[in-house]
Symmetry: D3
Subunit: 248 residues, 6 copies
């Protein structure tokens, strides 16, 4: 089984950490490949960055399809481009926010997400509504820039700890979710420190993707995930135009 | 007052129709400019096309800001890139699905949307949830390709009529919404034919934007619509990288 | 275009302020007339006052119809009698709470309403549910009587400011709504002071009504807004009995 | 125990039927008094009639308070003026739609309401949302005028039966609610005929009111049901002005 | 009329208190019998205890049916086994959480539940969602074991009072619900002390059951409450196997 | 890794089929053990059977804990006893309805469940609400008894096919869920026949459990899933009394 993890943040050190997080939990016979596009924002912090991460992200998934990957993980906690990727791919696609929230719903009744910046809070709250967990999910910002998580000197870890403390006390959370792909290396130690399930989306997505592929599931194409219809794309984006193999 | 309408479908005949629809209802002192990007899909039919319409769409809005437009309308019924555009612009931005649904909520209790393809139904249902009208909104597909609306020979009008008939009968709709920017020229005749409010999003958005600008409203920047943080974008998208003027 | 604004609070100084607020934003060619009934409560503070404001309010709308107004605004933040007025009128009718919440949803992601008395909080929360914004709307009371807003000596402004401060801090609001028609003169200064969109319902309703009239929209009569059926009303209310022109 | 049932429809034959329905289920020691105001619509069919039923309805409740009644029932399926009556009265107040829906929720999982006119459907759907049963409640119109229920010659009964048949078949209802006070005499025979619980609101409200009074419950005055504040009402409505005994 | 109250907690002193609470409000002609099973947990504190209370609880209801009781009350605030009991019985069945929440919805707009242990909070929040009051209901734990309520030396009462104080202040509750059958003796004094409706589920359920029986209502059997189908149960539970009299 | 699958239906042929379904998708290094209790209903069809399946089910999980299993699957589509099992176990526990609905949400936008009997429809609709997929999930009954699925002569398969056909046509489902553990052998052929993802809960649960165990997740004990408190259970159930190792 071969799983492609696409980090839509174009920062290689983050992609390495993401790949390592996935490999640390993957089955021995699963091949994990983690990539990031060569074009797009170095970090995704809000709606605008998200929009410009899409061409590179979808291009990596298109390449991954040709290379025969069995499933795709989108490694940005905004689940950037998830629906578009599902329309593009026959194979299953999963986002890391989605993966973390579903995993949390299997082991707890109240989850709190600790993310980076305040501006990401409404984005994640909206995802919680879409994934059906809004009533038992709170979202908190640690006030940390995404790339500060790559900097060993920053006080990011301590700020995240502080929000976990508040989540337990004020939200009565029994499960914590780390709300950024850049936190992929922190789950184990924080889980031990706080004696709570602490879930990180990259590892969760990798394992759930193993499950989906193992079940032989493909993306359903009878509704909104129908393959893109053949048509021209103009100008600089022409090469992304779909050939089309669907008539609905 | 100057309003820029961006059609993210890169088909000029459609953009002309959109501009005409907006001008037909605009105040005399309002200048309406309708444009479409030079890059991206000729029509937006589903999530994948939507993703690749974003760079061109946001680029037009960025240019519009420099040209001093007072407000921006996104003329695709999927409200493509609405959140990203709000993060980018200080001026108000509105989508045509959003505009049509809000307008419908002022004149009726049950609205039915007639859109083009079946694959767009879940997209619009999701928007109805986001705009708070899901409980009183049904979405129907006329099974018509977007560009068939540009073709006077097609049976598109008759298919749309058939769905309006069913909406009145089966959904007990008291208001109809035309769910595609390409239907911008049909609202008046259909409204008369069916003796019901028939709302088309381009005109609705143009008028609601006149209202927002007239109220002196700007997009609120204290939450998810904060201006993009300064950072590099790699590769072919480098020129879209935000300069950044916000620190939240 | 002629718009009638009915203040269901029978206090003339408040009606003047309301008319001025609407005129300050209206198009030059729009005629704004603001009236209040000669019968009913001097201020509307809760459900009981609301009930007794209805005969006067609906009477003013009936008179306005005969005078050929193109649209009607109900200038009480409880949106008193909105459904009844829509059943009565062929022209569009809008309430100021409805107008403010919809306008806020176009420029922000989290709105907080600052209203007068604690007893109005559940009324407005219920409207937020009806208008589909409950998940992103908080309601706060400044503990100010409605008519204190007419008294330049009162500390009402300072109490409102205090709640705006708390809304920004505790609710993480990016948009503020002033939740009483009597606050119609405060929006501009508060918006500047707090660097946030501060929306007041009278102005918002006037501008949205210009949009609806400009679109040629009428109230849909195929459902709950059907014209009242002809029938006798007994006793003191006999003169309000509908003549009836609808058979559904 | 003395319970006042106010029929806000000013049609005496209907009030008699309502009183009889309540008496047929009341405890022997409960005194049931059924009245209708002398002013207002002869039947309530939609929002406009509803508005003009309020002064008479609230006046009867105010008189009932002076006469020492222990609880009040509002006998119109729109639950007309329920919140205003709760603000007015210290004693408990219940509406017949509310009573029927709550009773149905104790004996079934899916309820269908059969009401009179199509225009009442959105009114009742909105109440179902407010009472928390919307997800398991369908509303159907038998296309019968309210006063046709007073006419032994009309085919109203057969039309109601037809909708019950459809509710069982299409809605998979296990419980039926009769959605008009004028149907108060039909529940027993229809329940037997269809072998289903058929609930009628007047009887349900009378029995639930016996329960509330028996529990010694009073309306809570700390929120939206606070007693009306003292203030003048102008003109023809001056005599309804509240004396006020509350300061919140 | 004969009502059987089953306390699924197998602690006799608690059952006595429950019976007394019901009798103190019941009509003189109503016979109240309160029992507890001879098998199962001495107190129900969370999901596991709840599961093991079911055989004894359902056995008592089966016995009660043979003895001709007219209705059944389940006296545990988790509404343990309510659906199973409704499938078993032709007579109406009501839970005490359900009864309290519905009663509260008739006299107030915002209710707060004060329960025993923190672990019961999500259980009751889930019931609030099922009963349609979640949007206006908060749940608080007094941190008191169920059987501490049987101990006159414990500080349970003071802890409950403290939570009521907080509910009024922080939740803006206008109605309080005591969230444990073991609190059945506290409602009257607390209601007086706090000048608020304080509702206790056992009394509420007894009175609502009188109402349901008085209305002649039976449990609807056309859906999920269909009588159990005849089939063997293996092993120690064989004697509970249903004989079956239903074919759906 | 060792996963225990407990079939709470005490029918051995069904348990064998369930074990085979899980083994057919499990990783080679995963040991799957499928058991059913020796006591309880031979099939679970509705709420009453469900209640009497709990002691046997929880007993098997308790035994499984002592035997060192790493995770537990409850193989009844009602997710019988899921919360109680999570309170009992430190290891993760998953239900097959939960597993199927979550898996479906990763590959489609609209799922339809085909279950056995009409009485199970409201049970599963309630689970859909709990798992957050209600808005995009329809539930259909094939009108087949659970044990008919064990009978090769029955027309069960054809009835299931018919409902899938209707789900595609009427519900516009892009994903199908088989709503009974007894259908565990049908997913692959039906998926091929209908060219849609057809998801069966036993296999889905086994794979998702591999994922949860692989992630090192344990059930969170800080809220409703706290370990049962030590206390006596009376009578025949005494041996199930928890020893208790938690103090919340």
């Amino acid at each position: 089984m071969r799983i492609l993890i696409v980090n839509p943040n174009t920062t290689a050190s983050m992609t390495e950490k993401i790949g390592a997080a996935a490999r640390s939990v993957a089955n021995p016979e699963t091949e994990i490949v983690a990539v990031n596009p060569g074009m797009g924002p170095v970090s995704i912090e809000g709606y605008y960055d998200e929009a410009f991460s899409l061409p590179g992200l979808l291009d990596e998934i298109a390449k991954g399809q040709k290379q025969g990957f069995d499933g795709f993980v989108i490694a940005c906690f905004d689940d950037t481009g998830l629906n578009a990727a599902r329309a593009l791919a026959k194979e299953p696609v999963i986002g890391i926010c989605e993966a973390a929230m579903h995993a949390a719903s299997f082991v707890g009744e109240r989850m709190s997400v600790v993310t980076t910046l305040k501006r990401s809070v409404p984005v994640i709250e909206d995802l919680a509504r879409r994934y059906g967990v809004a009533e038992r999910c709170k979202v908190r910002a640690a006030d940390v820039a995404v790339l500060a998580l790559e900097d060993p000197e920053s006080d990011a870890r301590e700020r995240i700890r502080e929000q976990i403390r508040l989540a337990v006390q004020e939200d009565e959370a029994d499960t914590i979710i780390l709300g950024c792909a850049g936190m992929a290396d922190l789950a184990a130690t924080l889980s031990e420190e706080f004696s709570l399930p602490v879930i990180e989306g990259v590892a969760a997505a990798a394992k759930l993707m193993e499950a989906l592929v193992g079940l032989g599931l493909k993306t359903g194409k009878a509704g909104g995930y129908a393959a893109p219809r053949a048509k021209p794309y103009l100008g600089a984006l022409a090469r992304f135009a779909p050939g089309g193999d669907d008539k609905s």
